[in-house]
Symmetry: D2
């Protein structure tokens, strides 16, 4: 009954198989190997375009920070939700990678930036007023940190507003698969078609060992060389990169990543429904693989005593995360303890 | 006939086996998993001490830069050889991680800092002279970038001088195994017993998929928490860290890493002897797994046409790197082409 | 009728006289000149202690950022009001000087951090939780950006709480003189006696040409050398430092700075009273030399047409700043236009 | 007999007069005041062009670092002489301001980069090789740190080579006046006409209180806004900027700066000739206001005992710096002590 995080899950067996398959012969180092190059066709298929560049890392924090640092100068700022992972959970990585750039924190319900907040923030940008730090990037997170999902329409709308003000649009897709399953959108629809310029496409939480893909779409591709230079100097250019690429290949093959996300989302729904049946309120409407349950102290205590693992979260809720490895039995056992 | 780099080799099969073995069940994220914790005992055994802390990354560049940044303030400098990997091949990672610290480049033959150069550099340090940047760290590399090895006596001597001037001693051991095999020293003798405060212990070039260990010895352990904070914000705290630890375990089990380094060194010796028999001069005396051959343009051309892979290096030499995966047949084939 | 800023005022004639007096003979460079050294006694007198070190700059932004960067590591944060000058008006200087540290923005009425907000922020600090950025410094501003003043009791209370949590306390005293006059406190009472560890003591807005003093009190003096190194590498160690010191001497002589602040505060009170007599509401209770008037668009228009200079500010108010050079006639003229 | 530095001299009386003249009335802050705007015409006259932008600071270190940081990205490098002020005497300011960029140190006699060294460095630049840090800027110093001068032909030649490789050319002109007097070149000939893109035009050592001007020529003007943003966040946007501008005006009026530089150079020549008459060798051929004398320990001792002030310098020489305030009597007294 471990609902602590989707990063607590092991890697899917296909990922391990792919690593073994890639483990033969000598390969060029630093990303010019056959496996990494081969990945392009698969990504083109997933995103339904050839107009992109990509880079692989083993870290979501690094992927976000690298992506942002290519578009936010040291004298600039990134707009993001006050509860965004880049704001709260990355120990200042965006500030570090950007050389001292700022995050401008916006509010909004359910982990989503409010439209009025965004409008106000965009209206405040004044590149001629040297004293204040103007925003250069809008960073959205989908699935959000509250387990909710932006719709394609919302992303498109926000991206259009950001573009109109000269901003670049970043999407932190650490749980992109969960958001796509939740909304029924395709990867293309939720990214470049909606106006996303640079995407952190996470596969680790979905089922990889450690694999994130930074994608630059369209005009943003001009930053390819800078992205590589920044990756190199931050230690995110592993010599044996084929092992990152192999993970990505395995995950993207035959829609495995979407199947795994579908399963995780279903487990979360099972959990949510079970909790509600028992009268437990949820802090947010669960759309992906995370449930934020407003459990009483007594309930938390009973569950902990029974061996359930989970952490307290925003607004007094308890976060329950399901992954590709979560079983219905595990969810039911949790609910059984609660009921008992 | 690929002698381009030891990073072109695949991972040793035991490493893959260990990954599979670790791939079961849910584990705590971010380094507090069972596998990562279990590694302590193995490291204690290898280094013959309990007075250490450790951190795992997938990148040698990151390991070096993280290690240095804990001891070199933004207003300070690191002493290193002008040809050191941190100076030449890491795209400014030490400057980035340290927040703008400097590298003071020292000369010396065979990729080793000259004693006189070190003495002069140490004598120049004046913390009271605010205009110049004082060195805070001495960084040695063993095996050096020229394939030579510092002896334990040399490391001890340099470390003692550095300590006497208040510096911390870092060892870049990306090819530590090769250096230990070359010198007959133990890991303990070449590190903390010789005065090394912080070690980048590389296993990737030796045979891992991507695994480096930063070790803090003795007093340097005070930087443990800072090291973790810096690792986090630079994206070097992978959520599923067990897979780094599993690699390390496999490599350290039954002296596998030393066996692999021994093999690589032997292949290099075979190459060196074969070359010399054919009258080819070597730019440096090969002590580890790298040979720097002074081949003529015609020779290079013949070899390239025969499919041999290698790169030009310092002083007009060609670098030939052997790895755990290099076979005697491969070496002999290379020599045969050259002879023919 | 220029009420745009106290930095629009010229320097007091005594400052110019002091510059001329210092302009004789050759002097040692970089702060070891006679004038800079002589300043120590005067500062000891003003702050009623010998337990301090000091550094001079020509910039309030630099003084704040230098002070903060000595105490907030790149992996740490500074607590400050959301409207603080360091947060809003310094183009990311604290982030830049600290190497990517963060500002944690706290709310509270009248430009002052709310007690509950401070308590909550302090309670959240957890140095063992590597993902979030822990605060290392509390930065207060007195006079605040809203023209209000923290009392000595408030500063003492907040500093005690901060110290109890291991934080260092910084005071941005760009308008310290105005705050002291407003509260009746002495410089010592409002700084080290209240628990302030590092003070940015501004004299530019009070009447200097460009002179700010960073003071380190007690334990904070350990950062003296680091402060100097950071000042040097950021270009805040002017070779002919005697001219900064001469300004400070002139301002501190015979309580000139306090007399000038008293005048500026009186002009603001005259303005505030005049406005209220005409039924104009003020956004904040003016305690120093700034008045935030809730003027109608029509009133603003009339005043601008009459040549009055002032800027819109927070909450729809207009900021009216008085300086040592503001005359009663100027205030009355402004009020006259408004009335007319 | 103070020959320690030209920064030990006071400001020229005209500078003080200009400060007093500027000290009337209220002025807009942060560089949009009348005096700063008025300076444009004077600079246009000095540099014989309208195609420039400018920014004022009180620090040569800051001016150099700000200038470099606009053209050298964090992942790039600056080519400069190993003895350049930016390399040796600025405590890592270029690395700090650029966000971790590197300096690539080149050798060459007399403080001037050797042509072969420059060619080799330029030939090594490979933006496609991600591991090494490519140079983006060539920084020359004129007058050099060894008191020698680059001719216009040399600057033009080096700048042309740099431009052909895609680099931007920076000139550190902390002693530009001395170099112009030494070579007979005009300010225009030695700067934009010779291919200099960005100039640090120093007036402090020439006779100001503290005033340096950053000039962007031609294409480099595109960095104007970035320069201002960087100046702001590093504390180099003084609110009362009129006092920097007033200094510049005074220095540039009626060729005062060139007259003062001429005097300083003449005093150095008097010193050099006197020393040589006494058989003292000079380490470098003095072309500006600095003499590097190879005095014996006994001679140094006699001079120090007689009250002469000067510092040991590179190559075992003693540096003797003359300024606008140096008198022939002072030089003769020094020579007299040496003779006696």
């Amino acid at each position: 009954m471990n609902f602590s995080s989707d990063t607590s899950a092991p890697a899917h067996p296909n990922v391990l198989k792919a690593l073994s398959a890639a483990n033969t012969g000598l390969e060029a180092s630093y990303g010019i190997d056959v496996v990494t190059q081969r990945l392009r066709a698969r990504l083109a298929d997933v995103f339904n375009t050839d107009d992109f560049d990509y880079w692989l890392t083993a870290s979501g924090t690094a992927s976000n920070a690298l992506a942002l640092s290519c578009f936010c100068p040291p004298t600039g700022a990134v707009l993001c939700h006050a509860g965004a992972h880049i704001a709260v959970d990355e120990r200042g990585a965006p500030e570090f990678f950007s050389g001292g750039g700022k995050l401008h924190l916006l509010r909004g319900p359910d982990g989503k930036i409010g439209a009025a907040q965004l409008d106000e923030a965009l209206a405040r940008i004044n590149h001629d007023f040297v004293h204040e730090t103007p925003a250069h990037v809008l960073s959205l997170t989908n699935l959000t940190e509250n387990g909710t999902a932006y719709s394609v329409a919302e992303v498109s709308d926000y991206a259009a507003k950001a573009h109109a003000t000269g901003l670049v649009v970043h999407l932190d897709g650490a749980r992109l698969g969960n958001a796509l399953v939740a909304t029924g959108a395709s990867a293309a629809e939720m990214s470049w078609k909606a106006g996303v310029d640079v995407l952190t496409f996470g596969l680790t939480k979905t089922g990889a060992m450690g694999c994130e893909i930074i994608l630059l779409f369209g005009e943003a591709r001009q930053k390819k060389r800078e992205l590589e230079a920044r990756a190199k100097r931050s230690g995110h250019m592993p010599p044996k990169m084929r092992y990152l690429a192999a993970q990505a290949e395995a995950m993207l093959a035959d829609r495995l990543w979407l199947d795994l996300a579908t399963h995780a989302n279903e487990m979360a729904r099972r959990m949510a429904e079970g909790l509600r049946r028992q009268g437990v309120d949820l802090a947010f409407e669960p759309q992906g693989n995370e449930v934020f349950a407003l459990l009483s102290e007594a309930q938390v205590s009973v569950l902990h005593n029974a061996g359930a693992v989970f952490y307290p979260w925003m607004g007094g809720s308890q976060r329950l995360v399901c992954s590709w490895a979560t079983t219905p039995e595990e969810v039911d056992a949790f609910l059984g303890v609660l009921k008992g």
